[in-house]
Every structure is written in structure tokens, then in C-alpha cells.
């Protein structure tokens, strides 16, 4: 026990932290009374903009877990101008994302060519039953209200063409 200072300095660190916590408060965020807001890009839940979706199935195919279920049918919509042909449009019957399987990887949001899927930082949607984690079309459209604007990029970034 020749060099006592090492042991004593260690005690000093803990005592210092004690005073720091008492005077300045701890780093703890007391959930559920206080809630932290996650950053803008946080991957909380996926929202669906139904108007843009054409059931091209790219998202369902590229999901690593195959957790997106899409069913649609083609309908004849009235022509855009007088005397034209009726055009075929895709109508979504079913667009479910099973959040019990979802890996939150974001591949579906990335590959969608029509900007129909968006990320939202919402994270408080846990359910007592696993079956309730299958969000259907209506619920996914509700999440659209929580989608934030894309954040501004740092200096030196190239402007995206999209």
C-alpha cells in the first residue's frame, strides 16, 4: 500500500459526481413524466401517403422480413379530358405493416419511387397484444401527421435533385 493517492483520487471522483448530481441534477430523463424528443431523422414509425401509392410492390419485395402486405385492384377512372379513354388506376385495398416483424431498417421508405412512405419519430405505440401491432391502411395514414420536415443539411452537402 505504498501509493495511497491512487485509491484516494478514485474516492474523489465519486464524491465529485455526488456533488455534481446534487447541485446540477442527474442526466436522468424521468419517463413517462418527462419525455425526450428524438432527432428529426429518428426511425420511429412508417407513415403512408395513400394518394401517392400505386401498389408497385417494390417496398413489399425489398423488405428483409416481408412484413408489408399489399393488396390492390385496378379500376377504371374517368378520363382526364373529354373524349379520352378511361384510364386504369391502382386502388389500394390493403396496406398493412406488421410492426412485430419490422426491423426498422428503412429500405421500404428508400426504394419507394413515388414518395408514398415516410419516417416519423413517433415511438409510443406499443400494444398489449401482438396482433394489434399490425397497422392497417387507416392507421398508417394517421401517422402522416407526425412526419417532420426533412432537416437542413450541413455545409458542403450537395443539393439533392429529388
Amino acid at each position: 500500500m505504498a501509493k495511497v493517492p491512487g485509491l484516494v483520487k478514485g474516492l474523489g471522483v465519486t464524491l465529485g459526481t455526488l456533488f455534481e448530481t446534487v447541485t446540477k441534477g442527474a442526466n436522468t430523463v424521468q419517463y413517462p413524466h418527462e419525455k425526450e424528443s428524438p432527432p428529426t431523422r429518428a426511425r420511429g414509425v412508417i407513415a403512408l401517403h395513400e394518394g401517392n401509392c400505386t401498389s408497385c410492390m417494390l417496398c413489399a419485395r425489398s423488405c428483409p422480413d416481408w412484413c408489408i402486405y399489399i393488396e390492390g385492384h385496378k379500376e377504371l377512372a374517368p378520363p382526364r379530358r373529354e373524349g379520352g379513354k378511361p384510364r386504369q388506376v391502382n386502388k389500394l385495398d390493403r396496406f398493412d405493416i406488421d410492426y412485430a416483424l419490422c426491423m426498422y431498417c428503412g429500405i421500404c421508405v428508400e426504394v419507394c419511387p413515388f414518395d408514398a412512405l415516410f419516417w416519423s419519430p413517433e415511438y409510443e405505440y406499443s400494444e398489449p397484444r401482438i396482433a394489434d401491432l399490425l397497422h392497417d391502411k387507416a392507421k398508417l395514414s394517421e401517422w402522416m401527421e407526425t412526419v417532420p420536415e426533412a432537416p437542413e443539411l450541413e455545409a458542403g452537402a450537395e443539393k439533392k435533385k429529388k
Binding site: L7, L11, L18, T21, A26, N27
Partner: protein, 361 residues
């Protein structure tokens, strides 16, 4: 305050109401239970939950009651409602007896601690001798728990505990001998009075707390207590990262609660004994109020005394817990080397020096 009320009621019963002997005994038993469980509860809440959480830069329990003050009640309730499991191949009788032995040694230990000039459970002449002897009972309980659990981890923990606790009994005893020599008595009440009525080189403003003259003895005693309580850095028997919980692994429900409360109750009682031996116990220096010996101490000291004891106990416990949360643990053989090769020679030297000074001065 509740300790004070317990002591006061007991004292009043003894002095004023002239309760029959069985009544006095009953009050003493109740007071004893309060005097043990209250420090345990205080230590667990204030130190373990809150103060150490602040040391780790977090808040500790905050949900149960305001600022988490009812967390201990919640913990007790939680442990009580768990299933009581006795492993199939465990030796059931010894398995069930072990926690009780550990707790009983704590209660026996608090019987000799004085809380005030008249607030004591028994004024035992060989007080400290009895205390040291009875504190060794817990070793038996731990060994029983380790062996009877039919679990290799518990066995390792129990055997480590046996070696460690017996090894650290010696420095504890030897550290205390210095105090005995200086106080010329083994009676804990007399030791308190000797400290508070005494003076250092004629200056009696501080009394004569033995922490100043027996500084080496104090350090050795604190280290020995840390080892006796199996707290880090001497918590090899529990060694959470290796032995899961050492000798306590197979216990659940009420039996684990007894071990848990027993651990902190013993910490509290040892802290009480440390404050009696080294910090002046329940008293303040008599010179402040012009008292000369125990009979001239005012009666209100019977109420203030326990409060002062509680404060000093919390100071000592803060030291114990501070070290516990800051240091990693020793390995078993390093532990033993430290006890036999370092602590015992130092405390022997301390005794020699104290005796020389006592005879010369």
C-alpha cells in the same frame, strides 16, 4: 426520532412507571428490534438508494412515494410476495436456519450498544468482548447457507466467506484492544463516558474521541468492518460478476429479505459500535455542559442521545458505502495476504504503542 421514542418509552418504563420485569423485558425487546431495523432501513434508503445513485450520476428510485421514500416498503412487499423456493437437493433444515442465524447475531450485537446515559439494553461489563464474540456467529450462518444450497456457486461463496470473515476477525479485535487499553474498561457505556469526559493534553473542548489518538486503530477497524460485512472491496463471497450472488444465490422471497435486511442491519450496528468506540457514542463532550460523570448528565440526553447516535452512525456508514461504490474487489488470496501480512502487524504495532503511551503518560 423513532429510535429515540423507542428508547424513551423504554427508559420511562424502566425509571418512572416501574413496570414489572416482564414488561421491561418486553419493552427492551421491542426497542431492540426498532434499534436494529431502523438503522437498516435508513441505510438502505438514504445511502444505498439515494446517495449512491447520486454518486453514479443518476436519481435512484423516484416513483414509490415522494422522491422514492417508500421504495423500501415497496421492496419489502415485493420480496414477501415471491415464491419460497427450497432447491430439491438442498439440506432443507439447514437451508432454512441459515438466514435466521445471520439476523440473530445482529440483534444480539445491538444489545450492548448504549444510546444514552440511561438508555441502554444491558450495561454489560465485558461489553466489547461480548460484541466481538457474537459478531462471529454470522460466519456460521453464511457457511450454512453456502453449503446447504446444493449449488457450486454458493459453495464457492460460502467457503470464501469462511476464510475471509475469520481472517478479518483478528484485525477487528486487535484494533479494538487499543481502545480498551486507553479507556481501561470493556464496558461500552464507560468507554463513551471516558471519551466525553476526557481531555486531550488538558484541552477538554473536544472531549477525548479515540479517533484522534487511535487513528490507526480506527482505520484498521473500518477496513475490518468492511470485510466483515462482505462489502466491496472485500465482497468476494458475493462477487456478483462471478458467483451471481454467492451464498445467497438460492434464496428467494422472505429468506432473501432476511439476508438483505440483515446485511444492512449489521452494517448499521457495526457503525453504531464504531461510533461508540471511536467517535464518542451518544454524547457530546461533557465540558460543553459542565457535566462530570454519567450521573450528572441531564435526562434530556436520553432523547437526544439516540439522535446523536443515529447521526454518527450515518457518518460512519457513509464512509463504508462510499468505499463500497468506488473500489473494485480484491481477489481471495490478495484479501488474505492483506489481512495477515498488513493489517495484523499494524494493529499489533498500534497496541504496543498505545500500551507504551499509557504507561508512560
Amino acid at each position: 426520532m423513532i429510535t429515540a421514542m423507542g428508547e424513551l418509552s423504554m427508559v420511562l418504563a424502566v425509571l418512572a412507571f416501574e413496570a414489572p420485569y416482564w414488561g421491561q423485558s418486553l419493552l427492551r425487546v421491542l426497542g431492540g428490534i426498532v434499534a436494529v431495523l431502523l438503522p437498516a432501513g435508513t441505510i438502505v434508503y438514504v445511502f444505498l438508494f439515494k446517495m449512491m445513485s447520486f454518486m453514479q450520476s443518476r436519481l435512484g428510485p423516484m416513483e414509490a412515494g415522494p422522491y422514492g421514500s417508500l421504495q423500501l416498503v415497496a421492496e419489502v412487499g415485493k420480496w414477501l410476495q415471491k415464491e419460497d423456493i427450497v432447491p430439491e437437493r438442498a439440506d432443507a433444515r439447514i437451508f432454512k436456519m441459515a438466514p435466521i442465524i445471520v439476523l440473530v447475531s445482529t440483534f444480539l450485537l445491538v444489545a450492548v450498544v448504549p444510546f444514552g446515559p440511561d438508555a441502554w439494553f444491558t450495561n454489560f461489563e465485558a461489553g466489547i468482548f461480548y460484541a466481538l464474540a457474537v459478531s462471529s456467529l454470522s460466519v456460521l450462518g453464511i457457511l450454512m447457507a453456502g453449503w446447504a444450497s446444493a449449488n457450486k456457486y454458493s459453495l464457492l461463496g460460502g467457503l470464501r466467506a469462511a476464510g475471509q470473515l475469520i481472517a478479518y476477525e483478528l484485525p477487528m479485535v486487535l484494533a479494538v484492544i487499543g481502545v480498551i487499553i486507553q479507556a481501561e474498561t470493556m464496558n461500552l457505556q464507560q468507554i463513551v463516558i471516558a471519551q466525553n469526559a476526557g481531555s486531550i493534553f488538558g484541552f477538554d473542548g473536544l472531549g477525548n474521541p479515540y479517533i484522534i489518538t487511535q487513528f490507526v486503530g480506527f482505520i484498521v477497524f473500518m477496513i475490518a468492518i468492511q470485510a466483515e460485512l462482505t462489502q466491496a472491496p472485500f465482497d468476494m463471497p458475493i462477487a456478483e460478476s462471478e458467483l451471481v450472488s454467492g451464498y445467497m444465490t438460492e434464496y428467494s422471497g422472505f429468506r432473501f429479505l432476511i439476508f438483505f435486511i440483515g446485511e444492512f442491519a449489521t452494517a448499521g450496528v457495526f457503525a453504531l459500535i464504531a461510533s461508540v468506540l471511536f467517535l464518542g457514542g451518544w454524547g457530546v463532550p461533557f465540558a460543553w455542559f459542565g457535566w462530570t460523570d454519567v450521573d450528572s448528565v441531564d435526562n434530556w440526553m436520553n432523547i437526544v442521545g439516540p439522535v446523536i447516535m443515529l447521526t454518527k452512525m450515518m457518518l460512519v456508514t457513509f464512509l463504508i458505502m462510499w468505499v463500497r461504490f468506488s473500489y473494485p474487489r480484491f481477489r481471495e488470496d490478495q484479501l488474505q495476504k492483506f489481512a495477515w501480512k498488513v493489517l495484523i502487524p499494524i494493529s499489533l504495532g498500534n497496541i504496543a504503542l498505545t500500551s507504551i503511551f499509557k504507561v508512560v503518560m
